[in-house]
Amino acid sequence: MSVTAGAPFRRGAPSFLSWIPTGRGTTLTIYIVKRLLWMIPVLFFVIVITFVLMHLAPGSPWDREGRQLSPQVVENLNIKYGLDKPLWQQFVIYVWGVIHFDFGDSLRQPGQHVSDLILVSWPYTFTLGAVTFILLVPIGIGLGVIAALRQNSLVDYTALGLATAAASTPNFVVGIFLIIIFALGMNKLTGGTFYFPTGGMPSPFNPFQVELIMPVITLGALPTAYIARLTRSSTLDTLRQDFVRTAWAKGLKARLVVVRHVLKNSLIPVVTALGPTFAFLITGSFITETLFSIPGIGRTFVSSIAARDYTVILGTTILFALLIALVNLVVDVLYVFIDPRVRLTE
């Protein structure tokens, strides 16, 4: 009676694909292909909605603060970027480009392809998000499980209190308070010898830099709290189940009861929540990036909206929607392996 390494899946997990009957494997493939195909209309409508809203918005990419461009220049720019054509024609041209992975040129940064802009800013956002996610999952789940196992103890109340406070404090407030305490306050206290830097992220690919500490806390506080709360309530639910009582009654060791009977079941809803959490890490990073002057994709997006840089808005929206659709697909497929009761019927 020992727990195998792959306990969350099934015993003998390393070859976890082999236990799926051949029929089921085929179902899975068909399911994945179906879902991938379903992404095409979804992305299409995402483009439609964004495109329409963008052009509904007052203002144009050629608006300048102060002195405006002359009408002749604006006209020429419109012709150059095809903005003089009827809207439906612009739309068809854009979608045709997207099909060929051509997202057009930025309207406000002349000569820059949208895909290049995204490739430059994406690593910052990705590193920030990935570091946050990697820290978030064990901390959130760990806190939740401990709080549930020691329900109504001091540990539980502390964890729950922290989680509730973090879940209802906006991330920009968290970030600003961090700056006040760890940058301004520490700077003053130590006379400028030791403090956390407030801005920038010098190297986009390095996950171990001191500049990341405050942004990661800012970005991760809310989702960690959310995961902790979810884990706690789901674990509490499972602890009350009959099969857990049976497990205790037949004298299983506490560790076995918890790992094999409780966690295996209580973590199922948590895994589902990780998809939206990932989406939150992408969208939440708008604010974190603005706060800490990180040149990531969130800032690119926000500034492109303010500048009416149509192609950049569309390009980043498509990227976000695609990522979220893919993550949700991964979660749904993972679900099948984690929860054997789930059948792919769609």
């Binding site: 209309p41 979804v42 992305l43 409508f45 995402v46 909605i49 964004t50 809203l53 963008m54 509904l56 918005a57 007052p58 509730t164 406070a165 879940a167 209802s168 404090t169 906006p170 991330n171 920009f172 407030v173 600003i176 308070f177 700056i179 006040i180 301004l184 989406a279 939150f280 992408i282 969208t283 939440g284 708008f286 604010i287 603005t290 706060l291 997006f301 926000v302 909206i305 303010a306 009416r308 808005i313 929206t317 976000f320 929607a321 979220i324 659709a325």
Partner: protein
């Protein structure tokens, strides 16, 4: 549930009292101290916010009673004043009184947070109800539509909507309604689908109840609990989104002092005076926290499984 033997020695049988759902829920809600504290804070906030806006003169009732100053009155010679009797929370870079601005901001945050929920209820409730009740191709169509809306990250879609309508109170209001109905529609649909299977609904259909009466008498009351809880949790989310948009410079624009605007202003001058962010920051966090507590309390109070 429990039987207790009183001091006098007589057995005090705990007879389950005949109580309605709402009375029962209220009794259980009152037992949750945090939720009650949250409710008290919210009521207090609403009173303070109303007083800051009514009558419509700048500063409202509190100004008339000389409790606060005018939120828009500038006094550049007195910028970044430290808290004093005159300005209990100090002044900002333009010498405007922070306390009166925070109270004014409360009215914006609370209005957006609470009133948007009715819009969400209208859109999400009717779409979810229609999908669940009619089923078939209507369900398919509506649910595929919610799937598409689901593919957008919330904040991103709100950003695009607000950009389209131009930055103002109303555009945030509409954008929030148009984005956050999706979760509620799914919830209502699920509720309706499960209630439709219940025997009493079948009985009602068999006795020839009209669809309208069926919806009003059976479907709506029985799915109300989770809907109310979801909407309550939607309030802090909406407050957060407004503050975040205003902070990013896309939401409510100055001089209107929304909390997000104040935090944005304060952040720009954070090295000069961190107080400018601390107070509005605490205000947002406290309001959101209170609504979360109330939501937690409502969830436990309205969940039939928790009934004793």
């Amino acid at each position: 549930m429990a039987t207790a033997i009183g001091l006098a020695g007589q057995v005090d049988w705990d007879v389950p009292e005949q109580t309605g759902l709402w009375k029962d829920a209220w009794v259980r809600f009152r037992r949750n101290r945090l939720a009650v504290a949250g409710l008290v804070v919210i009521v207090l906030m609403i009173v303070l916010a109303l007083g800051a806006r009514l009558p419509t003169a700048p500063g409202g009732l509190w100004r008339i009673l000389h409790l606060t100053n005018e939120p828009f009155l500038q006094d550049v010679t007195n910028s970044y004043a430290t808290p004093s009797l005159q300005h209990p929370l100090g002044t900002d870079i333009l010498g405007r009184d922070q306390l009166s601005r925070i109270l004014y901001g409360a009215s914006i945050s609370l209005t957006i947070g609470i009133v948007v929920q009715f819009l969400i209820l209208g859109i999400g409730g009717s779409i979810g109800m229609a999908a669940g009740y009619f089923g078939g191709w209507i369900d398919n169509l509506l649910m595929r539509f919610t799937d598409i809306m689901y593919a957008f990250p919330d904040l991103l879609l709100v950003l695009v909507f607000v950009a389209a309508f131009g930055p103002s109170f109303w555009s945030i209001f509409i954008a929030l309604g148009l984005v956050y109905w999706v979760g509620l529609a799914r919830l209502v649909r699920g509720q309706v689908l499960s209630i439709k299977e219940k025997e009493y609904v079948e009985a009602a259909i068999m006795t020839g109840t009209s669809p309208l009466k069926l919806i009003v008498k059976h479907l709506v009351p029985n799915s109300l609990g989770p809907v109310i809880v979801t909407l309550t949790f939607g309030i802090p989310a909406a407050i957060f989104t407004e503050a975040a948009l205003s902070f990013l410079g896309i939401g409510i624009r100055p001089p209107e002092p929304s909390w997000g605007v104040m935090i944005e202003d304060g952040y720009a001058g954070i090295f000069a005076d961190p107080r400018q962010v601390i107070f509005p920051g605490i205000a947002v966090a406290l309001t959101m926290l209170s609504f979360t507590f109330v939501g937690d309390g409502l969830r436990d109070a309205l969940d039939p499984r928790m009934r004793r």
